[in-house]
Symmetry: C2
Subunit: 134 residues, 2 copies
């Protein structure tokens, strides 16, 4: 137990999927992309170098696992991974399934356009798949 608190912007934009060994796994509320966000449950972490080497090792395996899950579930052409944090400083890693023809292809999804919220049934179906794939 620690004093980790999810940034309110991340909380507003996502749905809870699971807690991994280090990170909270979130589904971005944008039905156009299969898009996960991993947030290390480490208070005050902003940059990768704010984590310990052991924490980075856990995070890297969580990111690779989430990328593999998204690739498998979505059949996407490419997985994009990004840690930007220009607007939300709390360290968080985006993992996004991308394919030719998606709205932002081949550019990045970040800052491209407003998200399209999930319908509740589509959201719940994807959450179930993500939880079962872990």
């Amino acid at each position: 137990m620690n004093d980790f608190t999810l940034h309110p912007r991340l909380a507003a934009d996502t749905f809870f999927v699971a807690d991994g060994p280090l990170s909270r796994v979130l589904l971005m509320n944008d039905a156009r992309y299969a898009w996960l966000v991993l947030v290390p449950r480490v208070p005050n972490a902003i940059e990768l170098f704010d984590l310990s080497a052991a924490e980075r090792g856990l995070l890297t395996e969580e990111v690779a696992g989430a990328a593999g899950t998204l690739k498998h579930l979505s059949g996407a052409a490419k997985i994009n991974v990004g840690a930007l944090g220009n607007l939300v400083p709390q360290l968080h890693i985006h993992i996004v399934a991308r394919s030719p023809g998606d709205p932002a292809w081949p550019g990045p999804v970040w800052g491209h356009s407003a998200g399209v919220p999930y319908a509740p049934d589509a959201r719940d179906a994807l959450l179930a798949k993500l939880i079962n794939a872990r």
Copy 2:
């Protein structure tokens, strides 16, 4: 020794800095940002999950080290890390020093606008700093 070959687009857009334990370290030829690119010297790697766990561990420490170096040298507000590969499939990780007022702030640099090539003396001065900071 292996049959690693740098993708020609990465070779054209960057300058060689050094070879780390796993990755080739490159400086992006865009004088507007302090911007490194790390390319694991692993043939046919496209996604993070194409690397072994040991390779991912090396890569993660190289990325965190490069991020710390850029933060220290540039005094940037935030380091952006991204692995996209929508156009260049060879696995490569961008590490970019960002600050309010830079051309793409607060959006991502990728796909934002054409790079501004370095003047040779500025390039060589930064390369020397990067090599000495390792």
